[in-house]
C-alpha cells in the first residue's frame, strides 16, 4: 500500500510540476517516421528542431522517433499529454492519423509534412529540391566523360521522379547526348542495396552519380573508384572531400521558425490554417545547393566546371560554373525568374508534357509520373 501511495504522489507531483514551468513557453512536439540517426529525412527534421529551439527562446520541443503509421494518433496523444500545443508530423503516412487527432484536439495546432489534406487547425508544409537537382544536373552533364550518369532512387514515387526529372533536364541542358541511368532499391535506408546499385551502374559505364535515398553510400562507393558524385539531404562532403561536386541540403528550420513564430504571435491559430501550405524552395531558403552548408560547389571542382563552356538561349555562351551560379541566383530571387520545369518539355516517349511557355504547377509537380528525356531504365507507372 505504501508503494502505491508513493507512486500516486510521484505521479501527481510530476503532473502538477509540468504545466507550471511551461506556462510562458510554447511547446512543440515532433513525430518522426525514422530514427533521428538515419542521416536523411528524420535526421534533417531533428537538426531543424534543435535550430528552431536555439533561435526561439520561448520555444520548447519534444520529439518521438520511429513512429509506426498505425500509431500516429496514440503518439500525438502522448505528446499533447506532455503539454505540446503544436504538433508536427513529418511523414506522408501520418496524414490520416494527424487529421483524426486534429479533430479530437480542435484547440491544438498541427502541421503535416508532404501531405495535401488540411483543416482549420492543420497546415501542410514541404521543402522541395527539384530546383537544386536541376543545378546538380548541369554540373553532372559537364563532369561526365562517358556520357552516362548514374542515379540510385529509393522508390518510384512522384517525389523521386520529379527529382530525377529535374536532374536529367539539367544534364541535357549542358550535354544533350548524355543519359541518366536509373536503379531503384525500394528502400529509403538500405546501404547494401545502394552499394549494389552503384556498382551495377559503374559496370554499365556511368561515371558521375546522384541519388535519392537516405544514406551516404552512393557517395562512398563512387569515391572508392575515384568517381564524382552529388550528396543528398545532409552534409556529406566529409565522406568524399575530393570527389563530391555538390549536392542538395535542406533547411526545415526555416519553415519551423517561420511557422512557430506566427503561432506565437497569434497570426496562426487553430481556426485559420485551412489554406496554409508551405511549398518552400530555394527562394525561401528551405533548400540549399551544396555538399556542405555554405559551400555551393566543391572548390576542387570549380576550375574544371569553369573550363566547360555551354550555350544557352537566354544567357548566351558561358561556363557551366557561371551557368550554375546564374541559375541559382535566378531561382533564389523572390520573383523566381527561372524554373527548370518550363515548357515546352516532352517526356522520353515524345509526349508533350509542359506547354510552351508554361510552368508546371505545384499540383502537377506533386503528381508527376512521366520520365524526362535522357532517363534510361525501368519507370514503374509510366504514363
Amino acid at each position: 500500500m505504501r508503494w502505491l501511495t508513493f507512486l500516486v504522489v510521484l505521479v501527481l507531483a510530476g503532473g502538477l510540476a509540468v504545466p507550471g514551468i511551461a506556462q510562458q513557453k510554447l511547446k512543440a512536439g515532433f513525430v518522426y517516421v525514422g530514427p533521428i540517426g538515419d542521416y536523411g529525412w528524420t535526421h534533417a527534421h531533428d537538426f531543424a528542431r534543435k535550430i528552431a529551439e536555439k533561435k526561439l527562446p520561448w520555444l520548447e520541443t519534444i520529439y518521438v522517433e520511429k513512429v509506426p503509421e498505425g500509431q500516429t494518433e496514440s503518439f500525438i496523444d502522448k505528446l499533447i499529454l506532455q503539454g505540446a500545443r503544436v504538433i508536427f508530423t513529418t511523414s506522408f503516412g501520418f496524414m490520416d492519423g494527424t487529421l483524426a487527432a486534429a479533430k479530437r484536439y480542435p484547440n491544438h495546432i498541427f502541421a503535416h509534412a508532404s501531405g495535401f489534406k488540411r483543416a482549420p487547425n492543420v497546415a501542410t508544409y514541404m521543402a522541395d529540391f527539384y530546383q537544386v537537382y536541376y543545378l546538380n544536373g548541369l554540373m553532372a552533364g559537364a563532369a561526365t566523360k562517358s556520357g552516362k550518369v548514374g542515379y540510385v532512387g529509393a522508390f518510384p514515387i512522384p517525389e523521386v521522379k520529379r527529382h530525377m526529372g529535374a536532374f536529367a533536364l539539367g544534364v541535357r541542358a549542358v550535354n544533350p547526348k548524355a543519359t541518366v541511368h536509373v536503379r531503384w532499391i525500394y528502400e529509403w535506408f538500405n546501404p547494401t542495396a545502394a552499394k549494389e546499385a552503384t556498382e551495377a551502374l559503374i559496370a554499365e559505364g556511368a561515371d558521375v552519380f546522384a541519388f535519392t535515398e537516405d544514406t551516404p553510400t552512393v557517395v562512398q562507393v563512387a569515391a572508392k573508384r575515384g568517381l564524382p558524385s552529388f550528396g543528398h539531404y545532409s552534409p556529406m562532403h566529409k565522406f568524399a572531400p575530393k570527389h563530391m561536386i555538390s549536392g542538395q541540403l535542406v533547411h526545415w528550420d526555416k519553415i519551423y521558425v517561420d511557422f512557430l513564430s506566427k503561432v506565437y504571435a497569434g497570426k496562426y491559430t487553430a481556426e485559420n490554417l485551412a489554406n496554409v501550405d508551405y511549398w518552400w524552395l530555394l527562394a525561401e531558403g528551405a533548400a540549399e545547393l551544396g555538399g556542405e552548408f555554405g559551400m555551393p560547389v566543391n572548390p576542387e571542382w570549380k576550375a574544371r566546371l569553369q573550363a566547360v563552356k555551354v550555350g544557352t538561349p537566354d544567357l548566351g555562351r558561358l561556363s557551366v560554373y557561371d551557368l550554375v551560379m546564374k541559375r541559382l541566383a535566378q531561382m533564389s530571387d523572390p520573383k523566381v525568374t527561372f524554373e527548370p520545369f518550363t515548357g515546352p518539355i516532352k517526356d522520353r516517349k515524345g509526349v508533350l508534357r509542359v506547354q510552351s511557355g508554361k510552368r508546371m504547377t505545384v499540383g502537377e509537380l506533386n503528381g508527376m509520373e512521366w520520365a524526362a528525356p535522357g532517363i534510361v531504365g525501368p519507370w514503374p507507372k509510366e504514363p
Binding site: F6, L7, L10, V11, G14, G15, P35, I36, I62, Y63, V64, E65, K66, P68, E69, G70, Q71, E73, S74, F75, D77, K78, L79, L81, Q82, F92, G93, F116, F155, P156, I157, P158, E159, K161, Y186, N366, G367, E369, P380, K381
Partner: protein, 367 residues
C-alpha cells in the same frame, strides 16, 4: 537431489500455478532492477521512471486501450502458435502468415463484389485461408521431405514481406495513393468497428479470446486435440496408438497459420484500412507472438494474459520514448531485458525448494 543450506532442491515435472506465477513475478522484478540501471545511467531516477511508465500506460485512459490494440494481433497469432508448439511443430512463420492473411483480406475488400454485411466475414475467412495456405508449403516440406520447419517457415516470412512490397508498388498500387506505395483505402463496409472513444477494433479481440477458449476446450476434450497432444509429447506412442501424424500436423498447422492470418485481417481492416508497407502492417507481431506462446506454456487461455503482458511492455516502451525522451534503441533494450529474464527463468520452474533441515538421508542417497 541437491542441498542448499537447510533446503533440499527437488525436481518437479509439472510446476504448480502458484510456483509459475511466483517465478514469473520474480523474473519481472529482477528485470526491472536490471533495467533500472539503464534509467540511472540516463540520469533518470528508476522509481520515477516506473511511476511515469505506470501513469502513461495502465493509468491513462487514452493510452490503456492501446495495450488492447497491440494485444489483439499478438493473441490471435499467439494462440495459433500454442497449438503448433503443442504438436512440436516449430512454426516461426507467423509474421509471414499474418501478412498473407492481410493480403488475402485486402484482395476481398478491394476487388470482390461481396455485399456489405458479408464483406467483413468474407475478409476474415479469406484471411484465415490465406494464412493457412502460406503455412502449408513448409508443413508439406516437413511432412514429406523432413525439411526443418524452423528454417522454412522463417524463410517464408521474407517471401511474404517482399510479396507485399511488390503488390503495393505494382499491381495493387492505389489510384488515390498519390504515387505512394499504398493500395486504395477500403470501403466503409470493410472496416472493423471500434470501441467508442478508443481505436480498439474489438471484433478482432473478441475473436482472439473466443479462439483461445475454443482451443482450450478442443485440446482438453476433442479427439483431434488429444491426438495433437500425444503426437507432440511422444511421437512413438502416437504411432502405436494409430494416430496419423500427417493429418494431425497438417490440421494443427492449418489452424496455427490461419489464426495468424486472422491477426493480419484485424490490422488492415481495423487500423490501416489499406494494405501498406509490411513493416507497418505488422510491428513484428508474428515474432513477438512466439514469446506470447512460449510464456503461455502451451495453455491457450494463458496466451490471453501473456498477449496483454506483451502489449503492456510495448506500450511501456512507447511511454519511455515520449515522456522520458529516451532513444528508441534503449526502449528496445528495456523490452528485451524483461523478456530475457522471463524466458531465462524458465529453467527454475522445474525445481522447487523444500524446507528440510537435517534431511541427511536424501543427500547421501543422492551421492
Amino acid at each position: 537431489m541437491k542441498r542448499l543450506g537447510p533446503f533440499s532442491v527437488e525436481r518437479v515435472l509439472v510446476p504448480s500455478g502458484a510456483w509459475v506465477l511466483a517465478i514469473s513475478l520474480g523474473a519481472i522484478a529482477a528485470a526491472l532492477v536490471a533495467a533500472g540501471v539503464i534509467f540511472w545511467a540516463f540520469g533518470i531516477n528508476p522509481l520515477r521512471a516506473y511511476a511515469i511508465i505506470f501513469a502513461g500506460t495502465l493509468a491513462d485512459r487514452r493510452a490503456a486501450p492501446e495495450i488492447l490494440r497491440q494485444a489483439a494481433p499478438l493473441l490471435l497469432a499467439g494462440v495459433g502458435l500454442v497449438l503448433a508448439f503443442r504438436a512440436q511443430f516449430w512454426n516461426i512463420g507467423a509474421e509471414g502468415q499474418l501478412l498473407a492473411g492481410a493480403v488475402a483480406s485486402t484482395g476481398v475488400a478491394l476487388f470482390s463484389p461481396i455485399p456489405a454485411p458479408w464483406l467483413l466475414p468474407a475478409m476474415f475467412v479469406a484471411g484465415f485461408l490465406g494464412g493457412a495456405l502460406w503455412g502449408l508449403l513448409p508443413t508439406l516440406l516437413r511432412l514429406k521431405l523432413e525439411v526443418n520447419e524452423v528454417v522454412s517457415t522463417l524463410m517464408m516470412n521474407y517471401v511474404a514481406l517482399f510479396s507485399v512490397e511488390w503488390l503495393i508498388h505494382g499491381p495493387w498500387k492505389g489510384k488515390t495513393a498519390f504515387g505512394f506505395a499504398y493500395t486504395d483505402t477500403f470501403p466503409e463496409a470493410a472496416r472493423l468497428a471500434l470501441i467508442p472513444g478508443t481505436r480498439v477494433h474489438w471484433p478482432t479481440l473478441v475473436l482472439g479470446i473466443a479462439l483461445a477458449g475454443a482451443l482450450a476446450f478442443f485440446l482438453g476434450r476433442a479427439r483431434l486435440g488429444f491426438e495433437i497432444r500425444v503426437l507432440g509429447e511422444n511421437p512413438t506412442a502416437a504411432r502405436y496408438a494409430g494416430i496419423d501424424p500427417f493429418r494431425t500436423i497438417l490440421l494443427a498447422m492449418a489452424f496455427s497459420a490461419g489464426a495468424a492470418g486472422l491477426a493480419g485481417v484485424g490490422e488492415v481492416a481495423g487500423i490501416h484500412h489499406k494494405l501498406l508497407a509490411p513493416g507497418q502492417v505488422s510491428l513484428g507481431y508474428g515474432y513477438a507472438a512466439i514469446i506470447v506462446a512460449w510464456l503461455a506454456r502451451g495453455n491457450p487461455l494463458a496466451a490471453i494474459l501473456t498477449a496483454l503482458f506483451l502489449g503492456l511492455i510495448f506500450s511501456s516502451g512507447d511511454v519511455m520514448k515520449v515522456s522520458l525522451q529516451m532513444p528508441f534503441r534503449v526502449t528496445d533494450v528495456f523490452n528485451g531485458l524483461i523478456l530475457f529474464f522471463l524466458i531465462g527463468s524458465e529453467r527454475l520452474l522445474n525445481y522447487r525448494l523444500r524446507w528440510a533441515p537435517g534431511d541427511r538421508a536424501a543427500e547421501t542417497a543422492d551421492a
